[in-house]
Symmetry: C2
Subunit: 304 residues, 2 copies
Amino acid sequence: MIKSFEELIEKARVLENKKVAIVSSLSEHTVKSGILAKENDIAEPVFIGDKRKIEEILKKLGKEPSDYIIEDSKSEEESALRAVELAKKGEVDIILKGNISTSTLMKKILAKESGLRTGNLLSDVFITEDTSKDYPKLIGMSDGGINILPSLEEKKAIIDNAVKVFKRLGYEKPKVAVLSCVEYVNEKIPSTVEAKKLQEMNERGEIKDCIVEGPLALDLAVSEFAAKLKGVEGKVVGNADILIVPNIEAGNIFGKSFTYFTHLKVGHIIVGAKIPILIPSRAETEEDRLNSIAIAVFMENLFE
Amino acid sequence: MIKSFEELIEKARVLENKKVAIVSSLSEHTVKSGILAKENDIAEPVFIGDKRKIEEILKKLGKEPSDYIIEDSKSEEESALRAVELAKKGEVDIILKGNISTSTLMKKILAKESGLRTGNLLSDVFITEDTSKDYPKLIGMSDGGINILPSLEEKKAIIDNAVKVFKRLGYEKPKVAVLSCVEYVNEKIPSTVEAKKLQEMNERGEIKDCIVEGPLALDLAVSEFAAKLKGVEGKVVGNADILIVPNIEAGNIFGKSFTYFTHLKVGHIIVGAKIPILIPSRAETEEDRLNSIAIAVFMENLFE
């Protein structure tokens, strides 16, 4: 069970190096992510984009271009297509968005002919260090990035995806809290009704390899103290590994609060395709990008 | 402009003491809130509940019961009614929920005959210290507590309420960010459409005394760095005083994350009635309850 990003980086270093395609590596910020992955022995970057420009950036950053794999490409679209081809042939294991619009990149990845679709829902799995505990552990959150108003079936798939990720990180039977703003079903709050249904689906064995409880407010999901005071008991209560948010806004605001208010380490990856896809926010630090790459290197053949 | 809870407590101390009715003061935790308010010279508690029990608790906590105002009452309902009567007569200025169900208390407060209704929407205004900045300031968030699925008109009222509170704290023309998960209007994400409408209502002068911008993701609302990187400009962008969340779940999760993940000081009050109402979560610390009382003492005649 990996308990911190420090441990994650250490363990990623031991694994056989994966290749990460950095699509449209045309800024220093983007190229640095690749350099950092290589120098930390986490992954081998495959820079895709205007070769001369990439070489220039590498030189400017004090690196020898011939030490790096560069795939020449003249446009964003061509870069995206090249990354997809390399992934299809198994020559890269992870796709990281560089200086390209998310929609251009995702269109190529999700195209029928890409060979990268699995039939599974794509979702963003966000991970941070759980500072609600006095012992170290990671905590996951989904989905603050992809699915706008997930239906019950989509929420089930979001849980499945996050559970798969956490199992790879050594959390054998992850404890999943389906969040809302209260811990009881209130018909006026649809997210409480759905949370209960997800718990029941888990009890019936329709959601596997994890324990699901909901609805729970955040305090009850992570704090044993709050749970005790409120007299709420459960297997997940007070000790969740994964938090499922009711809507994309809640997840996006919650996720960003870790970066901007708590200044904690974070990482996040999109799973559901044949290989992990990393779509960092433009303002994401290089360290957080490295964390995301480190998570991704554990996800080989997560969906087959 | 009050920049921290420390400053808020100091300034509250200077004001003439307000009286806070503590409805159903039947636990040590609840009684301590009142003692703390008195000893910090923030407010004079009026304990309502079984007098003998309250005296016992005071003695157990090493206090002299005759130093405190106690209103004898035999039931939760009677305690709530007594608090409402005292508030109506102007004998208490703030109502703080003790060991009583929120619904019992709110029913008495919101009853037509209570005299405490103003015709305004009630909303919860949450305040914390803004650690996204390298200089001290407070930041507000609403509504993570009361309104489940606010309509556009209700969101306008939520903004009005939060702006009134921040003006009292010395923020002359508060900068209001209407949050969603992206910074552009996407018809598939209703919260982005409403955020834009709220900005337009502000531009037309329908929402006054503040500057409203939206939709904004959290990073753009609070981080000048993120705004610069993403090329987004505005008067609120990067420097919001008040964050309006799209739904109660987002607000509740965001608000609780400050307590459980960041361990920051928080306070929150319900405004919209004739006097501020404090509904602390059971697991809220005494310090956070004191912060809420200190906010409330600045809110005299906020709605008339």
